[in-house]
């Protein structure tokens, strides 16, 4: 489910558990997402049920991805028992995003998940990945995009695997324009 944030006015997330989970999103984003959820009753109820008793729904992993550049949020409620095997590692964030039908327009992957670029980099704002520590080759790739210097929360969407805890992610907008060397 995709939320184009600019289409919504601002309100407040009613559910306290969900509001707490979304706390790391910018205030305006959170407020617009709240209005969006009000318009999506099924999704709102599903999230509310999950966040109030997550232990009851262990095969479900909510994945909420905020794209800072396109100013959109994709919300997925994943079946973590059925791992898509492409693109990237089996069960990776990118694989789930692609399996749900979202293309490069939302989450870019220049190398089709081959761990040969960093175009699918995300910030893990909340939640624990199935593989919380990047392998060496992933770590090496994290800092190659000079326009988006990595933080401690940066991972590659093609390598980071969805686990059983809900994930809140951010796809960052470039911080600066890089002028190529002559």
């Amino acid at each position: 489910m995709i939320c184009k944030l600019n289409d919504y006015s601002e309100s407040q997330i009613e559910d306290e558990s969900l509001a707490k989970f979304l706390n790391d999103l910018p205030q305006d984003v959170r407020a617009k997402y709240a209005t969006y959820l009000d318009s999506q009753e099924q999704l709102k109820n599903a999230l509310s049920l999950y966040f109030n008793s997550p232990n009851q729904y262990q095969s479900i992993t909510p994945l909420i991805v905020f794209n800072e550049l396109s100013y959109e949020i994709v919300t997925l409620l994943l079946n973590n028992n059925e791992l898509p095997d492409e693109v990237g590692e089996e069960g990776s964030i990118l694989a789930f995003i692609r399996a749900a039908g979202y293309t490069d327009q939302f989450m870019c992957s220049d190398c089709y998940g081959q761990l040969s670029c960093s175009s699918c980099a995300v910030e893990v704002l909340q939640g624990t990945l199935e593989n919380p520590f990047p392998r060496d080759e992933e770590f090496d790739m994290l800092d190659i995009d000079e326009s988006k210097p990595p933080t401690e929360k940066t991972r590659l969407g093609c390598q980071a695997k969805v686990g059983t805890t809900p994930l809140l992610l951010k796809i960052r907008a470039p911080e600066k324009i890089i002028i190529s060397k002559v």
Binding site: L49, R135, D136, D140
Partner: protein, 497 residues
């Protein structure tokens, strides 16, 4: 749809309202095309082998899986930090592990300790032993890499630009060095199915010197206004890693009349060797073959510039992919490779490779000299030796195998071929010839250098007959200077890539 969510695993729950509904909260669904087995015309079935990359931290496991205790394992892992390493199971299966150290495909893909100096390896080992931080080791690795001439042949000087008054821009992902051909580095083609140990574009794969195009738009804009261009070379990385839907966006617009001057589409690839399933069983293989056929049927020539380093790469799956590209896509396959110590430095290997290529309908095209980059000391052979190998191989094959040009240095001024060694007026000389030149007038010009049995690159040669400079040197410096001035001017105008 119910508002109640039920975990499908918790079957004991009594409320069974539409348990699957929570998974259907999606705007749309997509269906991935599945790979399928391929049947050859003779009825042999080739099962799909999904591409799975194996990286540096997999090296240890590969040796373990083969029951081998490799004495150089630690060094290999260090070398693989400096030069990018990636292979896949298909390549592992092609290697003769009984004698892996001598195996050409092992040498072609696996890091060798001699690719770095002993001192360089020991420096990194010492840092690791001292539990140095990841950043310290990365800094050391980066320093070593910088010493390996990571940006050879002035490639940045090949970058063209669109010089419009309102929006001047460099086009980072194109190269236009020779008049008739434009190279495109698409962002989706910046990796390969495996990396060659001697790769001259290794810096691209470690995240440095990225020159790439975000999409096809500037390519089309550039080609439209450059009617002198007849060939488009899709390169990378390996453009065979690019999916068919992206290929379509690049190629199909070229069928409109404004691109009539584009006669030939070339694809520079090693996928025929490294992942031949790309053209047979991959989910979009049929689409890609169909696209090439459409280009061909619409009057464009499709030329696959296949990189083959050794005849051992041409196994049955590769040969079937070759047959399909030729017969179904209507493509012509031309072959090329550098001549490299430890991999293919013998006339026998080249003769057998060219014979096999001709037999399977391919056209031997180039024998290159190792570029002055990367682990050159490990791979390079002197020009004199390369010439011996080339001439020795030609003697062993029929005229149809004589189409390979070389040995050729692809250097800043152009492609310079070593035509022979002779004694002229009492002086031993190399006879050299431009096969392509940064100035088109240089093409086919013959010139002479003092014979030097150790020289391995153009910058190690001296002009013969007492000349102080080769004929092109002054003009080449002038061309580069003019380019630099133009770039500076455009930067002042606010041009960005």
């Amino acid at each position: 749809m119910s508002n109640t969510i039920i975990d499908p695993n918790q079957t004991s729950q009594t409320n069974t309202t539409d348990a699957s509904s929570i998974f259907e909260l999606s705007d749309f669904k997509i269906h991935f095309k599945k790979p399928k087995a391929w049947t050859t015309p003779l009825g042999t079935t080739i099962e799909h082998h999904a591409f799975k990359k194996l990286l540096r931290t997999d090296i240890r496991g590969i040796f373990e899986s083969k029951g081998i205790i490799d004495p150089d394992l630690d060094a290999r892992e260090i070398v693989a930090q400096v030069f990018p390493f990636k292979i896949n199971q298909h390549i592992v299966d092609q290697i003769n592990w009984q004698n892996y150290q001598e195996d050409p495909l092992f040498q072609l893909t696996f890091p060798q300790k001699e690719m770095l100096s002993e001192e360089e390896i020991n420096d990194v080992k010492a840092l690791k032993k001292a539990n140095a931080s990841r950043e310290t080791i990365a800094e050391k690795i980066s320093k070593i890499r910088t010493k390996k001439n990571p940006a050879p042949a002035n490639q940045s000087a090949n970058r063209p630009f669109i010089d419009s008054d309102d929006e001047p821009e460099f086009i980072d992902g194109l190269q236009h060095k020779y008049k008739k051909i434009v190279l495109m580095f698409h962002k989706n083609a910046q990796t390969c199915h495996a990396y060659c140990t001697y790769c001259f574009r290794f810096n691209q794969f470690v995240g440095k010197d990225k020159f790439l195009e975000e999409d096809h738009s500037r390519l089309h804009k550039y080609l439209k206004s450059h009617k002198e261009v007849s060939d488009l070379l899709m390169t990378g990385g390996d453009p065979a890693t690019m999916k068919a839907d992206v290929w379509k966006k690049v190629l199909l617009p070229l069928l409109s009349p404004e691109f009539n001057h584009i006669q030939t589409i070339r694809m520079g690839t090693k996928a025929l060797s490294y992942h031949p399933y790309r053209f047979l069983t991959d989910p979009d293989a049929d689409e890609l073959i169909g696209l090439f056929r459409k280009m061909r049927d619409s009057g464009k020539h499709v030329s696959i510039m296949g990189h083959f380093s050794h005849f051992q790469e041409m196994g049955p799956v590769t040969l079937e992919a070759i047959r399909r590209l030729r017969e179904e896509a209507g493509a012509t396959i031309r072959t090329q490779s550098p001549v490299m110590k430890h991999i293919n430095d013998s006339s026998y290997v080249w003769a057998k490779m060219w014979d096999l290529q001709v037999q399977n309908g391919m056209i031997p095209y180039y024998m290159f000299i190792a570029r002055d980059t990367g682990a050159r000391e490990y791979f390079e052979i002197p020009l004199a030796r390369a010439l011996d190998i080339y001439q020795g191989a030609r003697k062993q094959v029929s005229g149809l195998g004589h189409t390979a040009r070389g040995p050729s240095m692809s250097c800043g001024p152009g492609k310079i071929c070593i035509m022979g060694k002779e004694t002229i007026a009492g002086e031993d000389v190399f006879i050299l010839k431009f096969l392509q030149g940064r100035n088109e007038d240089w093409c086919d010009r013959v010139f002479f250098a003092k014979y030097d049995e150790k020289a391995a690159w153009i910058d190690q040669l001296q002009p013969a007959f007492g000349e102080k400079r080769f004929f092109f040197e002054e003009e080449y410096a002038h061309i580069l200077n003019e380019k630099q001035k133009k770039y500076n001017e455009m930067l002042k105008q606010g041009a960005v890539a």
